[in-house]
């Protein structure tokens, strides 16, 4: 993909270099290189903790999940394929999924769900979105802007809070079917825009 593009502006070149470094650390981690794993932790733990903290909503649980996330990364790094996913997406997806698993297990354990889930650490984290320099990410941002606000907000909340349709519908106080409809139509529009 990137090799057919015109020369990269300096900020994008920095991102590419950082990405290449992460790929190398991940591959070395896959070969059970503990020094590389430690470097990987130092470079990525703030990002991954930001993810587990927001979704878990409490520090102690978020740190427990983060511990689990890095053990998973240590075990699975050998299966990482640079051609299939960017390193940060691969790492962040593990963190997000583990945090969601924790959150849903909590919700199931308690009889009534939403009221008992800890409040989100921060409900407006997206100020930095405008500063994204990566071309693909910018396209995602641009395409999201073409959606209706309620569609965009629902998709955003699903991503950043790790919630299900049922939770979204309850938060927004709309029927489940209505929420599904908003999101599905929004995602269809998003897909069409992204394919342009």
């Amino acid at each position: 993909m990137t090799d057919q593009r015109p020369p990269l502006p300096p900020e994008t070149a920095d991102i590419s270099a950082a990405r290449a470094r992460l790929v190398e650390m991940l591959l070395r981690t896959g070969d059970e290189d503990r020094a590389a794993f430690r470097d990987l932790y130092q470079l990525t733990s703030a990002k991954l903790f930001g993810i587990t903290f927001r979704i878990c909503g409490e520090r102690q649980a978020a740190e427990d999940v983060l511990h689990d996330v890095y053990l998973t990364i240590w075990k699975r790094a050998g299966a990482y394929e640079p051609s299939r996913a960017s390193p940060i997406t691969w790492l962040a997806t593990i963190a997000r999924n583990r945090a969601i698993d924790w959150r849903r297990a909590q919700a199931t354990r308690r009889t009534s769900h939403l009221d008992d889930i800890p409040p989100l650490a921060d409900s407006t984290p997206l100020a930095s979105e405008t500063m994204i320099v990566d071309q693909d990410a910018r396209q995602l941002h641009t395409c999201l802007e073409t959606l209706e606000q309620r569609q965009r907000e629902a998709i955003r909340t699903a991503f950043f809070d790790g919630v299900t349709y049922a939770e979204l519908a309850e938060q927004q106080n709309v029927p489940l079917g209505t929420m599904k409809s908003w999101v599905r139509r929004g995602m269809l529009k998003l897909k069409e825009c992204l394919q342009r």
Partner: protein, 252 residues
């Protein structure tokens, strides 16, 4: 827009965005189970899920950082020193070096594919008089079945041969999992649900004797799929890990 619960595949109302819904984590319960089944049964669906994961993955850049306490690294580091299961096959890693055995497997798969592709079409049978009530189901096998299980970028197709006379299924040698995972083989037949056939060996060909229950699923048109699971295979009886290779069974 109605307030009724809308079924995921209700035509003419909502578009089918199940791949995006699964990638985003919106689904739970039965809908999630349906989506996971589709991951196995429909390679195109699995690709869509990957595409959406990558797309939404760009959003991680907007996620605010937070600092974990220093104790977390100490805990992680200590955990690595805990006794672990010895790793006999630690040198075998996917997608690095392909041993000579793989080339042989590849050649076998190529031959099988050639047989399947180049074989002249069988004479059309006389149409059965009974009316067809529903969509055609995969046909029960009377002859050998083959499949080329395609792992995409992870390597060449892996051949699978099923002999109905012995209920034996043989899968040629392939390194699809590293030492920290198990590659589990599934059949998705007429009932649309994955049934485990067992774990693939990390070295050499794998042979299975298909149980009577699973034999009912084996037919031309059924799908063989390989998922990556925790060592020892999925504990739940359903695939939990990513599907890394699929192929459809055809009559030889």
């Amino acid at each position: 827009m109605s307030d009724d619960t809308i079924l995921p595949d209700d035509p003419g109302r909502d578009p089918d965005m199940m791949a995006a819904e699964l990638a985003l984590g919106l689904l739970d319960g039965d809908e999630r189970a349906t989506a996971l089944r589709r991951m196995l049964a429909e390679p195109g669906f699995a690709q869509d899920v990957d595409m959406w994961r990558a797309r939404f993955g760009d959003w991680f850049a907007a996620w605010p950082d937070a600092s974990p306490s220093a104790a977390v690294w100490a805990r992680v580091d200590r955990s690595l020193d805990a006794p672990r299961v010895p790793q006999a096959d630690a040198v075998l890693r996917p997608n690095r070096w392909w041993p000579a055995a793989t080339a042989v497997a590849s050649a076998i798969a190529a031959v099988l594919l050639a047989i399947v592709v180049l074989r002249p079409a069988p004479p059309q049978p006389v149409p059965a008089p009974a009316p067809v009530a529903s969509a055609p189901l995969p046909t029960a096998p009377a002859t050998m079945l083959v499949a080329a299980i395609d792992p995409g970028e992870k390597g060449p197709p892996v051949s699978a041969v099923y002999d109905p006379a012995t209920a034996g299924l043989r899968v040629s040698a392939a390194t699809l999992a590293d030492a920290n995972q198990s590659a589990e083989l599934w059949i998705i037949g007429a009932d649309g649900t994955p049934h485990s056939l067992g774990l693939l060996r990390t070295t050499g060909a794998s042979t299975f004797t298909v149980t009577a229950a699973n034999r009912a699923q084996i037919a031309a048109g059924a799908t063989l799929a390989v998922s990556l699971e925790a060592v020892g295979g999925s504990p739940t009886g359903q695939p939990l890990g990513p599907v890394i290779a699929t192929g459809k069974l055809s009559q030889v």
